[in-house]
């Protein structure tokens, strides 16, 4: 009774991933993360001065995330400028990253995380979080661990990992459910959780287990990108 995915993937199979660190020389840290045809780039600037002054927090640094789609990343061109959707994703991304970073000593400062989607084929916020996580490490921000993120999905009655655009539009039976999750790798701390669709409560444990397996693979990709950035740098 197993669902056959149109793209030929197994239920728990992720799209091919790739990652690269240090792509934006001006930034303090930067990275790109790819899930299949979804491409996210992230840059970190900071800790740096925060204006206006009244936004400063004297007890800790603050994390400020800006996520957006480039106009031509989607089929129907998106008008430039933040939308409600991008504002919401910026906020939940900030909440996903915050528990992993140790920025108490950077009082009165801001750490800016800029995430842009060059090409969107579902899973953009999860790709963005994965990219931002590497960018923060690349910037030398003290972190408990990297943050890994994946969208668990459900197509009709079956749980799947990492749905793409086409699967997102599936309408038969119970339709398509989107369940993006992020976790601080190596811990029991889930810092992003959103859901949109139809999910029986008893499926949640399995969904979380599937996510955990994906996180192992994602962390490997992030780790390898960070390591090869340094050893690649020093060929001379």
């Amino acid at each position: 009774m197993a669902l056959k995915r149109k793209n030929g993937r197994k239920l728990d199979e992720l799209r091919p991933m790739s990652a690269e660190v240090g792509i934006i020389p001006n930034a303090d840290g930067s990275a790109m993360f790819v899930f299949g045809k979804t491409v996210a780039i992230a840059a970190v600037y900071g800790p740096r001065m925060l204006h206006p002054q009244h936004m400063q927090n004297p007890e800790t640094g603050i994390l400020r995330v800006n996520y957006d789609l480039l106009s031509f990343s989607v089929e129907d061109r998106k008008k430039p400028g933040p939308s409600r959707r991008s504002q919401e994703i910026s906020k939940v991304t900030e909440l996903a990253l915050l528990p992993a970073v140790d920025i108490n000593e950077f009082k009165n400062t801001v750490i800016d995380v800029q995430i842009y989607i060059l090409q969107a084929n579902a899973g953009t916020r999860t790709a963005g979080i994965n990219a931002a996580s590497m960018a923060l490490a690349n910037a030398g921000i003290p972190m408990k661990s990297l943050i890994t993120s994946v969208a668990v999905g459900k197509i009709d009655k079956e749980l799947v990992l990492d749905v793409d655009d086409e699967e997102e539009h599936f309408e038969e039976g119970e339709g398509s459910t989107d369940f993006p999750i992020a976790k601080i790798y190596g811990t029991d701390e889930y810092s992003l959780m959103q859901m949109d669709g139809k999910l029986p409560p008893e499926m949640i444990p399995k969904a979380l287990d599937m996510a955990d397996e994906a996180f192992e693979k994602i962390y490997e990709v992030q780790k390898n990108a960070l390591k090869s950035y340094v050893s690649g740098e020093d060929v001379k």
């Binding site: 800790p47 140790d102 009082k107 400062t109 690349n138 661990s145 340094v230």
Partner: protein, 238 residues
């Protein structure tokens, strides 16, 4: 949630020696297991394991495991030498941009000779560069002092930036690297721990060579025996 603490490095040191005993680690990666080890800077204990809290090189010295970061913001500490640009003049002193989240402040009395309050810009104008020492770090800002060898208003030459975490490499063990650069270019070089570097030579070509050499070094994170390699570099780049 387990609280974890992570302090920045207190001392700056040359990471050029014995890299084979060091491995590249990322946050969350297990560096060592077992009760024998102690977590040093940039690492923490999680149950049986020592885990990295920074992206850098894991360094085991005896029982202590610490992480030497590849990158990270410059955090001013007392006695750090910094290079900054005067960004404003107020009645009690000069505001100095030290490329940090708050500005430095140089009090009027730090000038080497008596300066009248109406003539402050004749000593230091907006856009001028100083080499100064961090005197005090507080919630209000970073107080600077300028009395001491090698400190003061910098005239001539130019300033440029490298990643602050590369500064120890550029200085070298007991200044060996920076001395090599000075000898081979005949330039004055002052290195700010905030990553800003001042170079001044007798002519443009020596200044350009000094900058090129410094940027070459700053690029090399893992390479060992860098001082020897730089001696060759200078021979090849006469």
């Amino acid at each position: 949630m387990k609280e974890f603490e992570d302090k920045n490095q207190e001392e700056f040191e040359d990471v050029g020696s014995e890299p084979s005993s060091r491995t590249i680690v990322v946050p969350g990666e297990i560096v060592s297991s077992g009760e024998d080890f102690l977590a040093g800077e940039g690492a923490r204990r999680e149950g049986n394991d020592i885990v990295a809290s920074r992206y850098g090189l894991a360094d085991k010295i005896g029982r202590v495991v610490k992480i030497i970061p590849f990158s990270g913001a410059f955090i001013p500490r007392r006695n750090n030498v910094i290079i900054g640009r005067v960004s404003d003049i107020v009645h009690s002193g000069w505001i100095v941009d030290i490329d940090y989240a708050s500005n430095g402040f140089l009090p009027l009395m730090e000038s080497p000779r008596f300066v009248n309050k109406n003539e402050m810009d004749q000593f230091l104008a907006i856009g001028d560069v100083v080499a100064a020492k961090v005197w005090n770090v507080s919630a209000k800002g970073i107080d600077l002092a300028m009395k001491g060898k090698g400190l003061g208003k910098l005239e001539g030459g130019f300033i440029f930036r490298v990643n602050p975490s590369r500064v120890p490499r550029i200085i070298g063990r007991e200044g060996s690297m920076i001395n090599l650069i000075k000898e081979n270019t005949g330039c004055n070089v002052t290195i700010g721990q905030n990553g800003w570097i001042w170079v001044k030579g007798n002519d443009t070509d020596s200044e350009l060579k000094a900058r090129k050499a410094i940027e070459f070094i700053a690029d090399k994170v893992l390479v060992s025996g860098l001082t020897d390699k730089m001696e060759n570099w200078f021979k090849e780049n006469k």
